[in-house]
């Protein structure tokens, strides 16, 4: 039995790198420090009922087992024969595989797009428009005294974000609110005890004033880090917030602009904006201006609702306005563990972070035209290669339908609607469990992913599978040239 320390969790963009995983006889038997989602991954990843364990190929409408060579050959043939293939996914694999993927996209003259196109794509558009004042999560942990989660519910999507980097984390200059909550609870209990004892002693005056309700003396109220949540529903994160603003759906833009006005000492001549009373908004803005170092974390609630990149533009503008009054940062809450890496690798290889079109022999980028949902909606693609992603589940119906009707190659460790609809399926190994690799955290800090156990017999790493397809594509192209 061995315990492997400092394991990076291959699930969400928080990329916790403090997990301790117990391995016995080549199997993972325990995992410490992970949240419920991280633990579910480590304890279930090897379940054979939901793994792809053999290469599969569709024959007469049915997926049947095949050899790796046959699957590679078939995939290469599909890609060479197509004139506008899409290569999509990439957010749940290592940077090393993404790099090979880009080479493959260039070789076959296809479009390579990653899942940020349907999550933080609009954030990237906004950042390209107006820039972004941001920082690392370490700086936030140690210094931020005001945390804002806007349209993001870390409890559901990034469960350890609060504990590792924000409200419940203890930094060098910022105490953990968790300790404060516990101290507060102890304080209340202690005072109740004293009050009961004093009553028993039949004296009302034992040098302490009588307890009134749950109110504590000011020294217990030295709460430092404040938490503000803005969301369309009262999420679990909102329950812990000092201020919660329940904005009407699709009205974030109005609220952000109204807050910008207040930051600039303007006056609102209405009672409420986007369902938020102006009084509450003023309190929130005062708290934001009054902090020493604040940060806004925003989720896909902003990018996916009306306004899209304009919402992010104005959230960034609010941060910029706040920087005239105090210090403020802003950061997107990236979902999949290496979606930031997919953008970064794509940028350093092609110049563009997503939706890169190689069909003219050089990289082109025009989201709305070269983004995969639009290509599929217009039914322009004629083949697809999907890796570490499940667009059949996650794309709008029409886009998914047009993806499925073309020849489809899927590389995935697990069975998903996409692999069930594919024509060629490669069983891959899990990056960060069965294969090592590199991933970028949401604040663009690269972290190593460890190999903990051996993959099942027929499962290869994404990088190996892609490299073999690329070699085969080059071979077929050469043969075609020679006639």
């Amino acid at each position: 039995m061995s315990v492997i320390e400092n394991v990076t969790c291959p699930v969400c963009g928080t990329l916790c790198d403090d997990l301790a995983v117990t391995v016995e006889d080549g199997f993972i038997t325990d995992v410490k420090n992970a949240c419920a989602i991280g633990e579910a991954k480590f304890m279930n990843f090897s379940n054979p009922n939901h793994r792809n364990l053999k290469p599969l190929i569709r024959k007469e409408g049915e997926l049947v087992e095949t050899s790796l060579e046959e699957a590679v050959r078939k995939s290469a043939e599909i890609l060479v024969a197509s004139s506008y293939p899409i290569l999509y996914g990439w957010s749940c694999t290592g940077c090393e595989s993404i790099r090979v993927g880009i080479e493959l996209a260039e070789e076959v003259g296809g479009v390579i797009d990653n899942t940020s196109t349907v999550c933080h794509g609009p954030s990237i558009l906004a950042i390209q428009d107006v820039g972004i004042p941001t920082c690392t999560l370490g700086q936030i942990r140690h210094r931020a005294d005001l945390i804002v989660y806007w349209a993001s519910d870390p409890y559901s999507a990034h469960p350890r974000h609060l504990e590792r980097y924000t409200s419940f984390s203890g930094g060098r200059f910022q105490k953990s609110e968790w300790e404060h909550y516990v101290a507060r609870l102890r304080g209340i209990l202690g005072r109740k005890r004293i009050s009961r004892t004093s009553e028993r002693m039949l004296t009302k005056d034992v040098s302490m004033p009588a307890i009134s309700g749950e109110k504590l003396p000011p020294y217990f109220e030295t709460k430092k880090r404040k938490l503000i949540v803005v969301d369309v529903r009262k999420t679990r994160s909102a329950e812990h917030a000092d201020f919660f603003m329940q904005v009407e759906p699709n009205k974030d833009f109005e609220l952000l602009q109204a807050m910008r006005l207040l930051v600039k000492d303007g006056e609102l001549e209405v009672e409420e904006v986007a369902g938020i009373p102006v009084d509450l908004m003023e309190d929130v803005v005062d708290t934001m201006i009054g902090c020493d170092f604040g940060v806004i974390f925003f989720g896909v609630g902003l990018t996916m609702s009306a306004g899209k990149h304009q919402n992010i533009n104005s959230a960034i503008a609010l941060t910029q306005d706040l920087n005239f009054r105090t210090k403020f940062s802003i950061m997107p809450m990236r979902g999949h563990f290496n979606v930031a890496g997919a953008n970064i690798v794509s940028t350093w290889q092609t110049g563009y972070p997503f939706a890169v079109d190689f069909s003219q022999g050089f990289p082109r980028y025009n989201p709305g035209e070269t983004s995969v949902v639009d290509i599929l909606r217009r039914d322009q693609a004629d083949a697809g290669l999907i890796i570490a992603s499940d667009p059949v589940s996650n794309f709008p119906k029409k886009a998914a339908e047009n993806l499925v009707k073309n020849p489809l190659i899927a590389i995935d460790p697990v069975i998903s609607p996409t692999t069930l609809m594919a024509d060629v399926v490669f069983p891959a190994s899990f990056v960060g469990i069965e294969t090592e690799g590199t991933a970028y955290r949401m604040d663009r800090v690269p972290l190593p992913m460890k190999k903990l156990v051996e993959p099942p017999q027929n499962c290869q790493s994404d990088k190996v599978i892609l490299t073999r397809i690329l070699e085969q594509v080059r071979l077929i192209k050469k043969e075609n040239e020679l006639g």
Binding site: K41, L125, R233, A306
Partner: protein, 132 residues
């Protein structure tokens, strides 16, 4: 029974996140994803009980899922579905030049569907994509 006009939000839930790791064909996954969280007052208006079948429709299509009383109320006339195939059958592919479809705040209708079943993932795939 009249259809009720609502706004549909889709998003992540912790149950969807953990059950996904049990496999997308598992019953845990279906139970956590083929659902719609509805405000208690709306449930009352439709005379619906917890876990009864409800049909959600948008201009792109319709799907039958289980109605669940929202723990995040009040949010009358706003319904919430976890990400997954069931929810995405209701989403429009139009991106208005951004590459990003609208997954939140979509105009939708809901109505009780006592005579329809919630389809399993393989059934739904077969029905929609005619493959597999």
């Amino acid at each position: 029974m009249e259809k009720v006009k609502v706004k549909l939000l889709t998003g992540r839930t912790i149950d969807q996140g953990t059950s996904k790791e049990h496999g997308k064909l598992s019953s845990e996954y279906q139970e956590s994803v083929a659902i719609c969280e509805i405000d208690p007052s709306d449930l009352k208006e439709l005379a619906l009980k917890q876990n009864s079948n409800i049909k959600i429709s948008t201009k792109c299509g319709s799907v039958v899922v289980k109605a669940i009383e929202s723990k995040r109320a009040p949010h009358p006339k706003v319904i919430y579905m976890p990400y997954g195939l069931w929810a995405n059958l209701l989403i429009d592919s139009q991106t208005h030049g951004t590459g990003m479809p609208s997954f939140k705040g979509i105009p939708a209708y809901m109505e009780p569907a006592p005579d329809s079943n919630v389809l399993s993932l393989p059934e739904l795939l077969k029905q929609v994509f005619k493959k597999g």
